[in-house]
């Protein structure tokens, strides 16, 4: 039990399949196709700053909407008796077990020109609205796919808030808003932070949602990377540079919403 030896295969594995590949991303980002050093790739990423900003913007909106929807929901679940909490949480999680391609495909069929939603509006003589291939559709797809990622960390923090603390605040004369802003919000801050990371990271790097629901006009960082590696614009060096920029972006986001490690581990137990 006191031996570190059993971890040797993993350490080797980690070196080859985690550290070396990330090193290769950096190496490819800083070289040309024949291997000479260059910073052209990195500076070329600047040409796509529009796509970058678009991705950050859409992911930020989706994260915010997820937070607004999930916060009261998680609080509601966390105040239920324990056996009921379990069932309600399960209900939130089940859709996540469907492959996300199928979930996104479902919205494709709902939003299209003669899809169900437009047929519904037609009953009232409205529409048809142009919903698919818009920014709104991409954000909707993100919110739909990643909402449980926000509910879970919020819930796991809120469930630890002692109900008596809330009652104490009420006894001491706090109104609903006071209880929220002075007690519940500060205590649930770690959950908010990890929820934001858990939604923002996959949202900003997606290329499926933007491709299926956004049409050609809503390219995101993920689409760019995909184009450089498996698409027509084959250029792994540029692709690596974009990946590097994406990683730095996310590291920045993480350093703002730190404490993530402890949260993740806490939830695994």
């Amino acid at each position: 039990m006191k031996s570190k030896a059993p971890s040797a295969p993993y350490l080797l594995w980690m070196a080859i399949f985690t550290i070396v590949p990330l090193g290769l991303v950096v190496y490819f980002a800083l070289t040309t196709a024949d291997g000479t050093f260059t910073i052209d790739n990195i500076s070329r990423v600047g040409e796509y700053s529009g796509v970058l900003m678009h991705s950050i913007w859409l992911a930020a909106i989706a994260t915010f909407i997820c937070l607004v929807i999930a916060y009261p929901l998680a609080f509601y679940i966390s105040r239920k008796p324990e056996n009921k909490q379990r069932t309600l949480l399960m209900l939130c999680i089940i859709p996540m077990w469907m492959n996300f391609l199928l979930r996104t495909y479902a919205w494709m069929t709902l939003l299209e020109k003669n899809g169900l939603i437009n047929r519904f509006f037609a009953l009232f003589g409205m529409g048809p609205f142009n919903m698919i291939n818009t920014k709104g559709a991409v954000v909707l797809g993100m919110v739909y796919n990643y909402l449980p990622f926000m509910i879970l960390p919020l819930y796991s923090i809120m469930v630890k808030i002692d109900g008596r603390v809330i009652e104490a605040a009420q006894d001491l004369g706090a109104n609903t808003y006071g209880v929220f802003s002075k007690v519940v919000l500060p205590l649930s801050m770690p959950g908010i932070r990890s929820g934001i990371t858990m939604v923002f990271v996959p949202a900003i790097s997606t290329f499926i949602i933007s491709r299926m629901l956004g049409g050609g006009g809503n390219i995101m960082i993920g689409d760019l990377i995909d184009l450089q590696f498996l698409g027509n614009a084959y250029n792994p060096n540029l692709g690596a540079a974009i990946s590097l920029v994406l990683m730095v972006l996310i590291l920045l986001c993480m350093s703002i919403t730190n404490q993530f490690d402890e949260e993740m581990e806490g939830m695994m137990i």
């Binding site: 739909y144 449980p148 990371t197 994406l246």
Partner: protein, 271 residues
Amino acid sequence: MKRLSKVYFWLVMAFLYMPIFVLIFFSFNESKSRSNFTGFTFDWYRKLFSNRVILDSLKTTLIIAAVSTIIAVIIGTAAAIGINAMNKWLRGVVMNVTYLPVINPEIVTGVSLMLLFVFLRDKIGIPIDFGYPTLILAHITFNVPYVILNVLPKLRQMDRFVYEAALDLGCTPFRAFWKVTLPEIMPGVMSGLLMSFTYSLDDFIISYFNAGPTAQTLPITIYSMTRRKVSPEINALSTIIFAVVILVLVIYNIVDSSKGKKVIGKVVPRL
């Protein structure tokens, strides 16, 4: 207020489930329309089960999930035992690297592994083909951290004196591990195994970059089906997947509640 929050909860549930139910509903539709229900049929299910591409990719998915899960569980459990014996500083370093594939965007993990395989093949000359080998290596890589993260807490909770007592009573270290440590950490190993297996089955992005032209996993097949748009077979497939998910969860909960334990915290989404 109470009533209002209840209504709110069910509204959000409607939002989460409605698209899935629509998908299921139209899997029984006679025509190819996705908004007009013309008549009831099982045709799309029949077509699905005679679709060679889908059946082949299902087989590929299961093989890759099984092989990569078994290897990940072995490497990951051993790693957790070793990490548990490390001093605080070293453990911190190793755990930080372990979190990398968990917190890194999947697309970056996928692309970086693809670069590694290309590099190994073209620059070092190791004959590695895109297909089963690269998929299995990639899946092991993203599964091992989940095994470690599930086993490590169990090791920390464990009373190490029991293991030492076994040694004092004449067990060899291996026997003591087998008889004392392993049964104690088994719940962690099992949830690591389940998580790995489901993530393997479900993974699209990392597989997409490392599959090559020959091996298709089920999510990759689903992706190419959605690109071709109209095919109600995809609805039938969704229905079956949803039914399997519900079935597995129900069984898992019955088995688990009979032991009186909570599982909910373990169902943590992957980033």
